[in-house]
Amino acid sequence: MTEMPPLLNVSDISLSFGGVHALTDVSFDVRPGEIFSIIGPNGAGKTSMLNCISGRYQPNKGSITFKQKEMIGLRPNDRCNLGIGRTFQNLALFSHMTVLDNIMVGRHHLLKNNFLSGSLYWLGGARKEELTHRAEVEDIIDFLEIAHIRKSIAGTLSYGLRKRVELARAVALRPDLILLDEPMAGMNLEEKEDMARYIIDLNEEWGMTVVMIEHDMGVVMDISHRVMVLDFGRKIAGGLPDEVMANPQVRKAYLGEDDEPAPEPQPEGEVA
C-alpha cells in the first residue's frame, strides 16, 4: 500500500473570506483504502477543507489532485463522475422527497434517461433502467437498515435517521472517496456505534476511501487509520491516531484541559 500513489493529494491550500483566513497552506495526502479523519476545534476550517475538495469553495491558492487529476476549477457537479461523494454537516436532504427518491437522486450521474425518455417511461427503456437502479438502491437501503422508512418523507424523520439517509444518498453515488462532515454529530451512543460500523463496512467491504470530520475523539481514535489536526486554518499535526494524540500542541489546541469532552458543534444557518 505504501507504494501506491495517493488517491487525494492536497497541497498548500489557502482560503480566505475577506479578512478571515479559513485555511492557510494546508497539505495532506489520502491513500487509497484508508479512513482519514480531520479534527480540530470549532471554526478550525475543517468544513472549508471539505468544501474545497467537493468544489463548493474555490481556494485562493494551492492544488488538489484526485486520482492524479487537478480538481481546482472543476465544477462541483462534475466531481461525482470522477468518484467523489459527500455528506453535509448540517442536514442537506431533499426534505419533501421520500427517502427512496432522495437516494435515487444519488444515482443521477449514473442514470441515462432524460426528460424525453423519462416522460415516455415505458417506451424508451427508462422504466427498465430505473428499476435496475432501484434494485441497487435497495441494497444500500438494506445495508443502512432504513428499509422501514423508505417511503417516508425525508423532512419528517428524526435527526439520526436523516443523517443515515444522507449517508445512503452519498453511497448511492458509488464514490471512490466519500467525504463525511460530522456524521455522528447530535447522535446518541447507540446511533454513533451504528454509524461507526457503517463507516467501517463502507471502507472495508465497499472499498471506499473515507475522509471524515468528527468531534467524538473516541470514534476518531477507534476507526481512523490516520488523523490530521487543524487549528485556526493551519495543519498543526498529522499521522497515526496515537501519535497525534501524544502531540503536546494538539493536546493544548484541541483538547484544552486534558479530560474535558470535545465541544459539540453548533448548527449553523446556511449549509456549508
Binding site: 443521477h108 450521474h109 434517461n113 432524460n114 423519462g118 415516455l120 430505473e130
Partner: protein, 354 residues
C-alpha cells in the same frame, strides 16, 4: 419486500419493485382513474354544450397549468410570463398550419416544440438569477412577447389576429364541442401521463432536488444551470400545447388574450391545486374555471332582488379569483391535492381517525 407504504391499505403488499413504481399508488386509484376516463369518453353524448365548453377549457388550461407547476411547484422557480408562452403556442400552431399547410394534427406538437425552444431561450436568466429578480425577468419576457404578438404581423396577424383552422384527421373535422372534447381529452391524458412519468424519473427528480436543496443537488451531479433552464423549456412545451389547443378550439387567436392577468390566473391554478402536485394542477384549473361560473349562477339566482349585483358581476368574478388565491395561501397552502389526500386518508382509517 413487504414494504409498509404509508398510503397503502393494510394488507396490501408488494412483491417486486415494478409493482412498487406504478403510476397509481393503489389499485383503487388506478380504477378510479380508468373509470374517470371512461366517463369522460361517453360524456359528450349527454353533457350539454355549456358543460362541454367548460370541460374543454379545463383541459387546455390544465395542460398549461401542469407546465407552470413543473417550473414553479417542482423546480421552485417563479414565472410571471406563462400566458405569453400559452399565446405563443396558439399563434405558432395557427401560423404553421396557415403558412405551410401542415395538418393541425401535427402543428400542435410542433407548436409545443417551438414554444419549448422559446422557453429555453427566455429561461436563460433563470440559470443565473433567483427569486424577485427572476420574477422581474419573466415579467419582462411577458411584456416583450405581448409586444411581439401585436407587432409581428407575419406571425400573428398583428392587430387583426390570426385565423386557426379546426382540428382534423384525414379530412374529418373536429369542428364542434362534442368532437373537440375528445381531442382535448386525448391531450390531457397524454400530457398528464408524460408529466407523471417525468417526475418519477431522473430529470424530474433533479428538478425537485434543485428546489429542495440546490447545494446538495449539485454534489449529486446535477448541473443547476441546465436544470433551471430546462425546467422553463419543458414548462413552455406544456404551455404551447395548451395554447395550440386553445387556438384551434376558438378558431381565432388574438394578442389580447395573453396578458399578465392570464399569467396570474395560471399561478392561481397551481397554488390552489397544489404546488408540486401533478393532479393538483388539474384540480386547481377546474376550480379556477368553475369559480366564476358559480359566481355567475349565484348572482343569477339572487339577481332579481339585487340588481346592483348583476351589474357588478364582472368585478365579482375577478375578485372571487383573487380572494380564492389569498384564502388558499392562508388556509390551504398545500392546495386541493393535499386536502384530497387528507380526506382519503381519513376515510381509509375511519372510524379510527387517530
Amino acid at each position: 419486500m413487504a414494504s409498509a407504504h404509508s398510503r397503502m391499505k393494510c394488507g396490501e403488499f408488494r412483491t417486486n419493485y415494478q409493482q412498487d413504481t406504478t403510476i397509481f399508488p393503489t389499485p383503487l386509484a388506478r380504477r378510479v382513474a380508468v373509470l374517470s376516463v371512461i366517463f369522460l369518453l361517453v360524456a359528450p353524448s349527454f353533457l350539454n354544450p355549456y358543460f362541454l365548453n367548460l370541460g374543454i377549457q379545463i383541459g387546455y388550461y390544465g395542460i398549461a397549468a401542469l407546465g407552470l407547476n413543473i417550473v414553479v411547484g417542482f423546480t421552485g422557480q417563479i414565472s410571471l410570463g406563462h400566458a405569453a408562452f400559452f399565446g405563443f403556442g396558439a399563434f405558432a400552431s395557427a401560423w404553421l398550419n396557415n403558412t405551410t399547410g401542415i395538418p393541425v394534427f401535427f402543428c400542435i406538437p410542433l407548436a409545443g416544440t417551438m414554444t419549448m425552444a422559446l422557453g429555453l431561450i427566455v429561461g436563460i436568466p433563470a440559470g443565473r438569477i433567483k427569486g424577485l429578480y427572476l420574477a422581474i425577468a419573466t415579467l419582462a419576457s411577458q411584456y416583450i412577447l405581448e409586444d411581439f404578438f401585436s407587432r409581428a404581423d407575419w406571425f400573428t396577424g398583428g392587430a387583426y389576429g390570426a385565423m386557426a383552422n379546426p382540428f382534423s384527421i384525414f379530412g374529418f373535422e373536429f369542428n364542434n364541442d362534442q368532437r373537440y372534447f375528445y381531442v382535448v381529452l386525448f391531450y390531457v391524458v397524454i400530457m398528464f401521463l408524460f408529466g407523471t412519468n417525468l417526475l418519477r424519473s431522473r430529470d424530474g427528480r433533479a428538478f425537485v432536488a434543485v428546489r429542495d436543496h440546490y447545494l446538495s443537488a449539485e454534489i449529486m451531479g446535477i448541473n443547476l444551470t441546465k436544470y433551471r433552464i430546462l425546467s422553463f423549456g419543458i414548462s413552455s412545451f406544456y404551455a404551447g400545447i395548451g395554447g395550440a389547443l386553445f387556438g384551434h378550439y376558438l378558431g381565432f387567436v388574438s394578442a389580447e388574450g395573453f396578458t399578465i392577468m392570464l399569467s396570474i390566473q395560471f399561478l392561481g391554478m397551481v397554488i390552489i391545486g397544489g404546488l408540486g402536485s401533478v393532479m393538483g394542477s388539474l384540480m386547481g384549473t377546474a376550480f379556477m374555471v368553475l369559480l366564476p361560473e358559480l359566481m355567475e349562477a349565484g348572482v343569477g339566482l339572487v339577481g332579481h332582488n339585487a340588481p346592483g349585483l348583476t351589474h357588478a358581476l364582472a368585478y365579482i368574478k375577478e375578485m372571487s379569483i383573487g380572494l380564492a388565491i389569498i384564502l388558499f395561501l392562508i388556509f390551504e397552502p398545500d392546495g386541493l391535492a393535499h386536502r384530497w389526500k387528507m380526506i382519503k386518508a381519513y376515510w381509509k382509517l375511519y372510524p379510527f381517525s387517530y
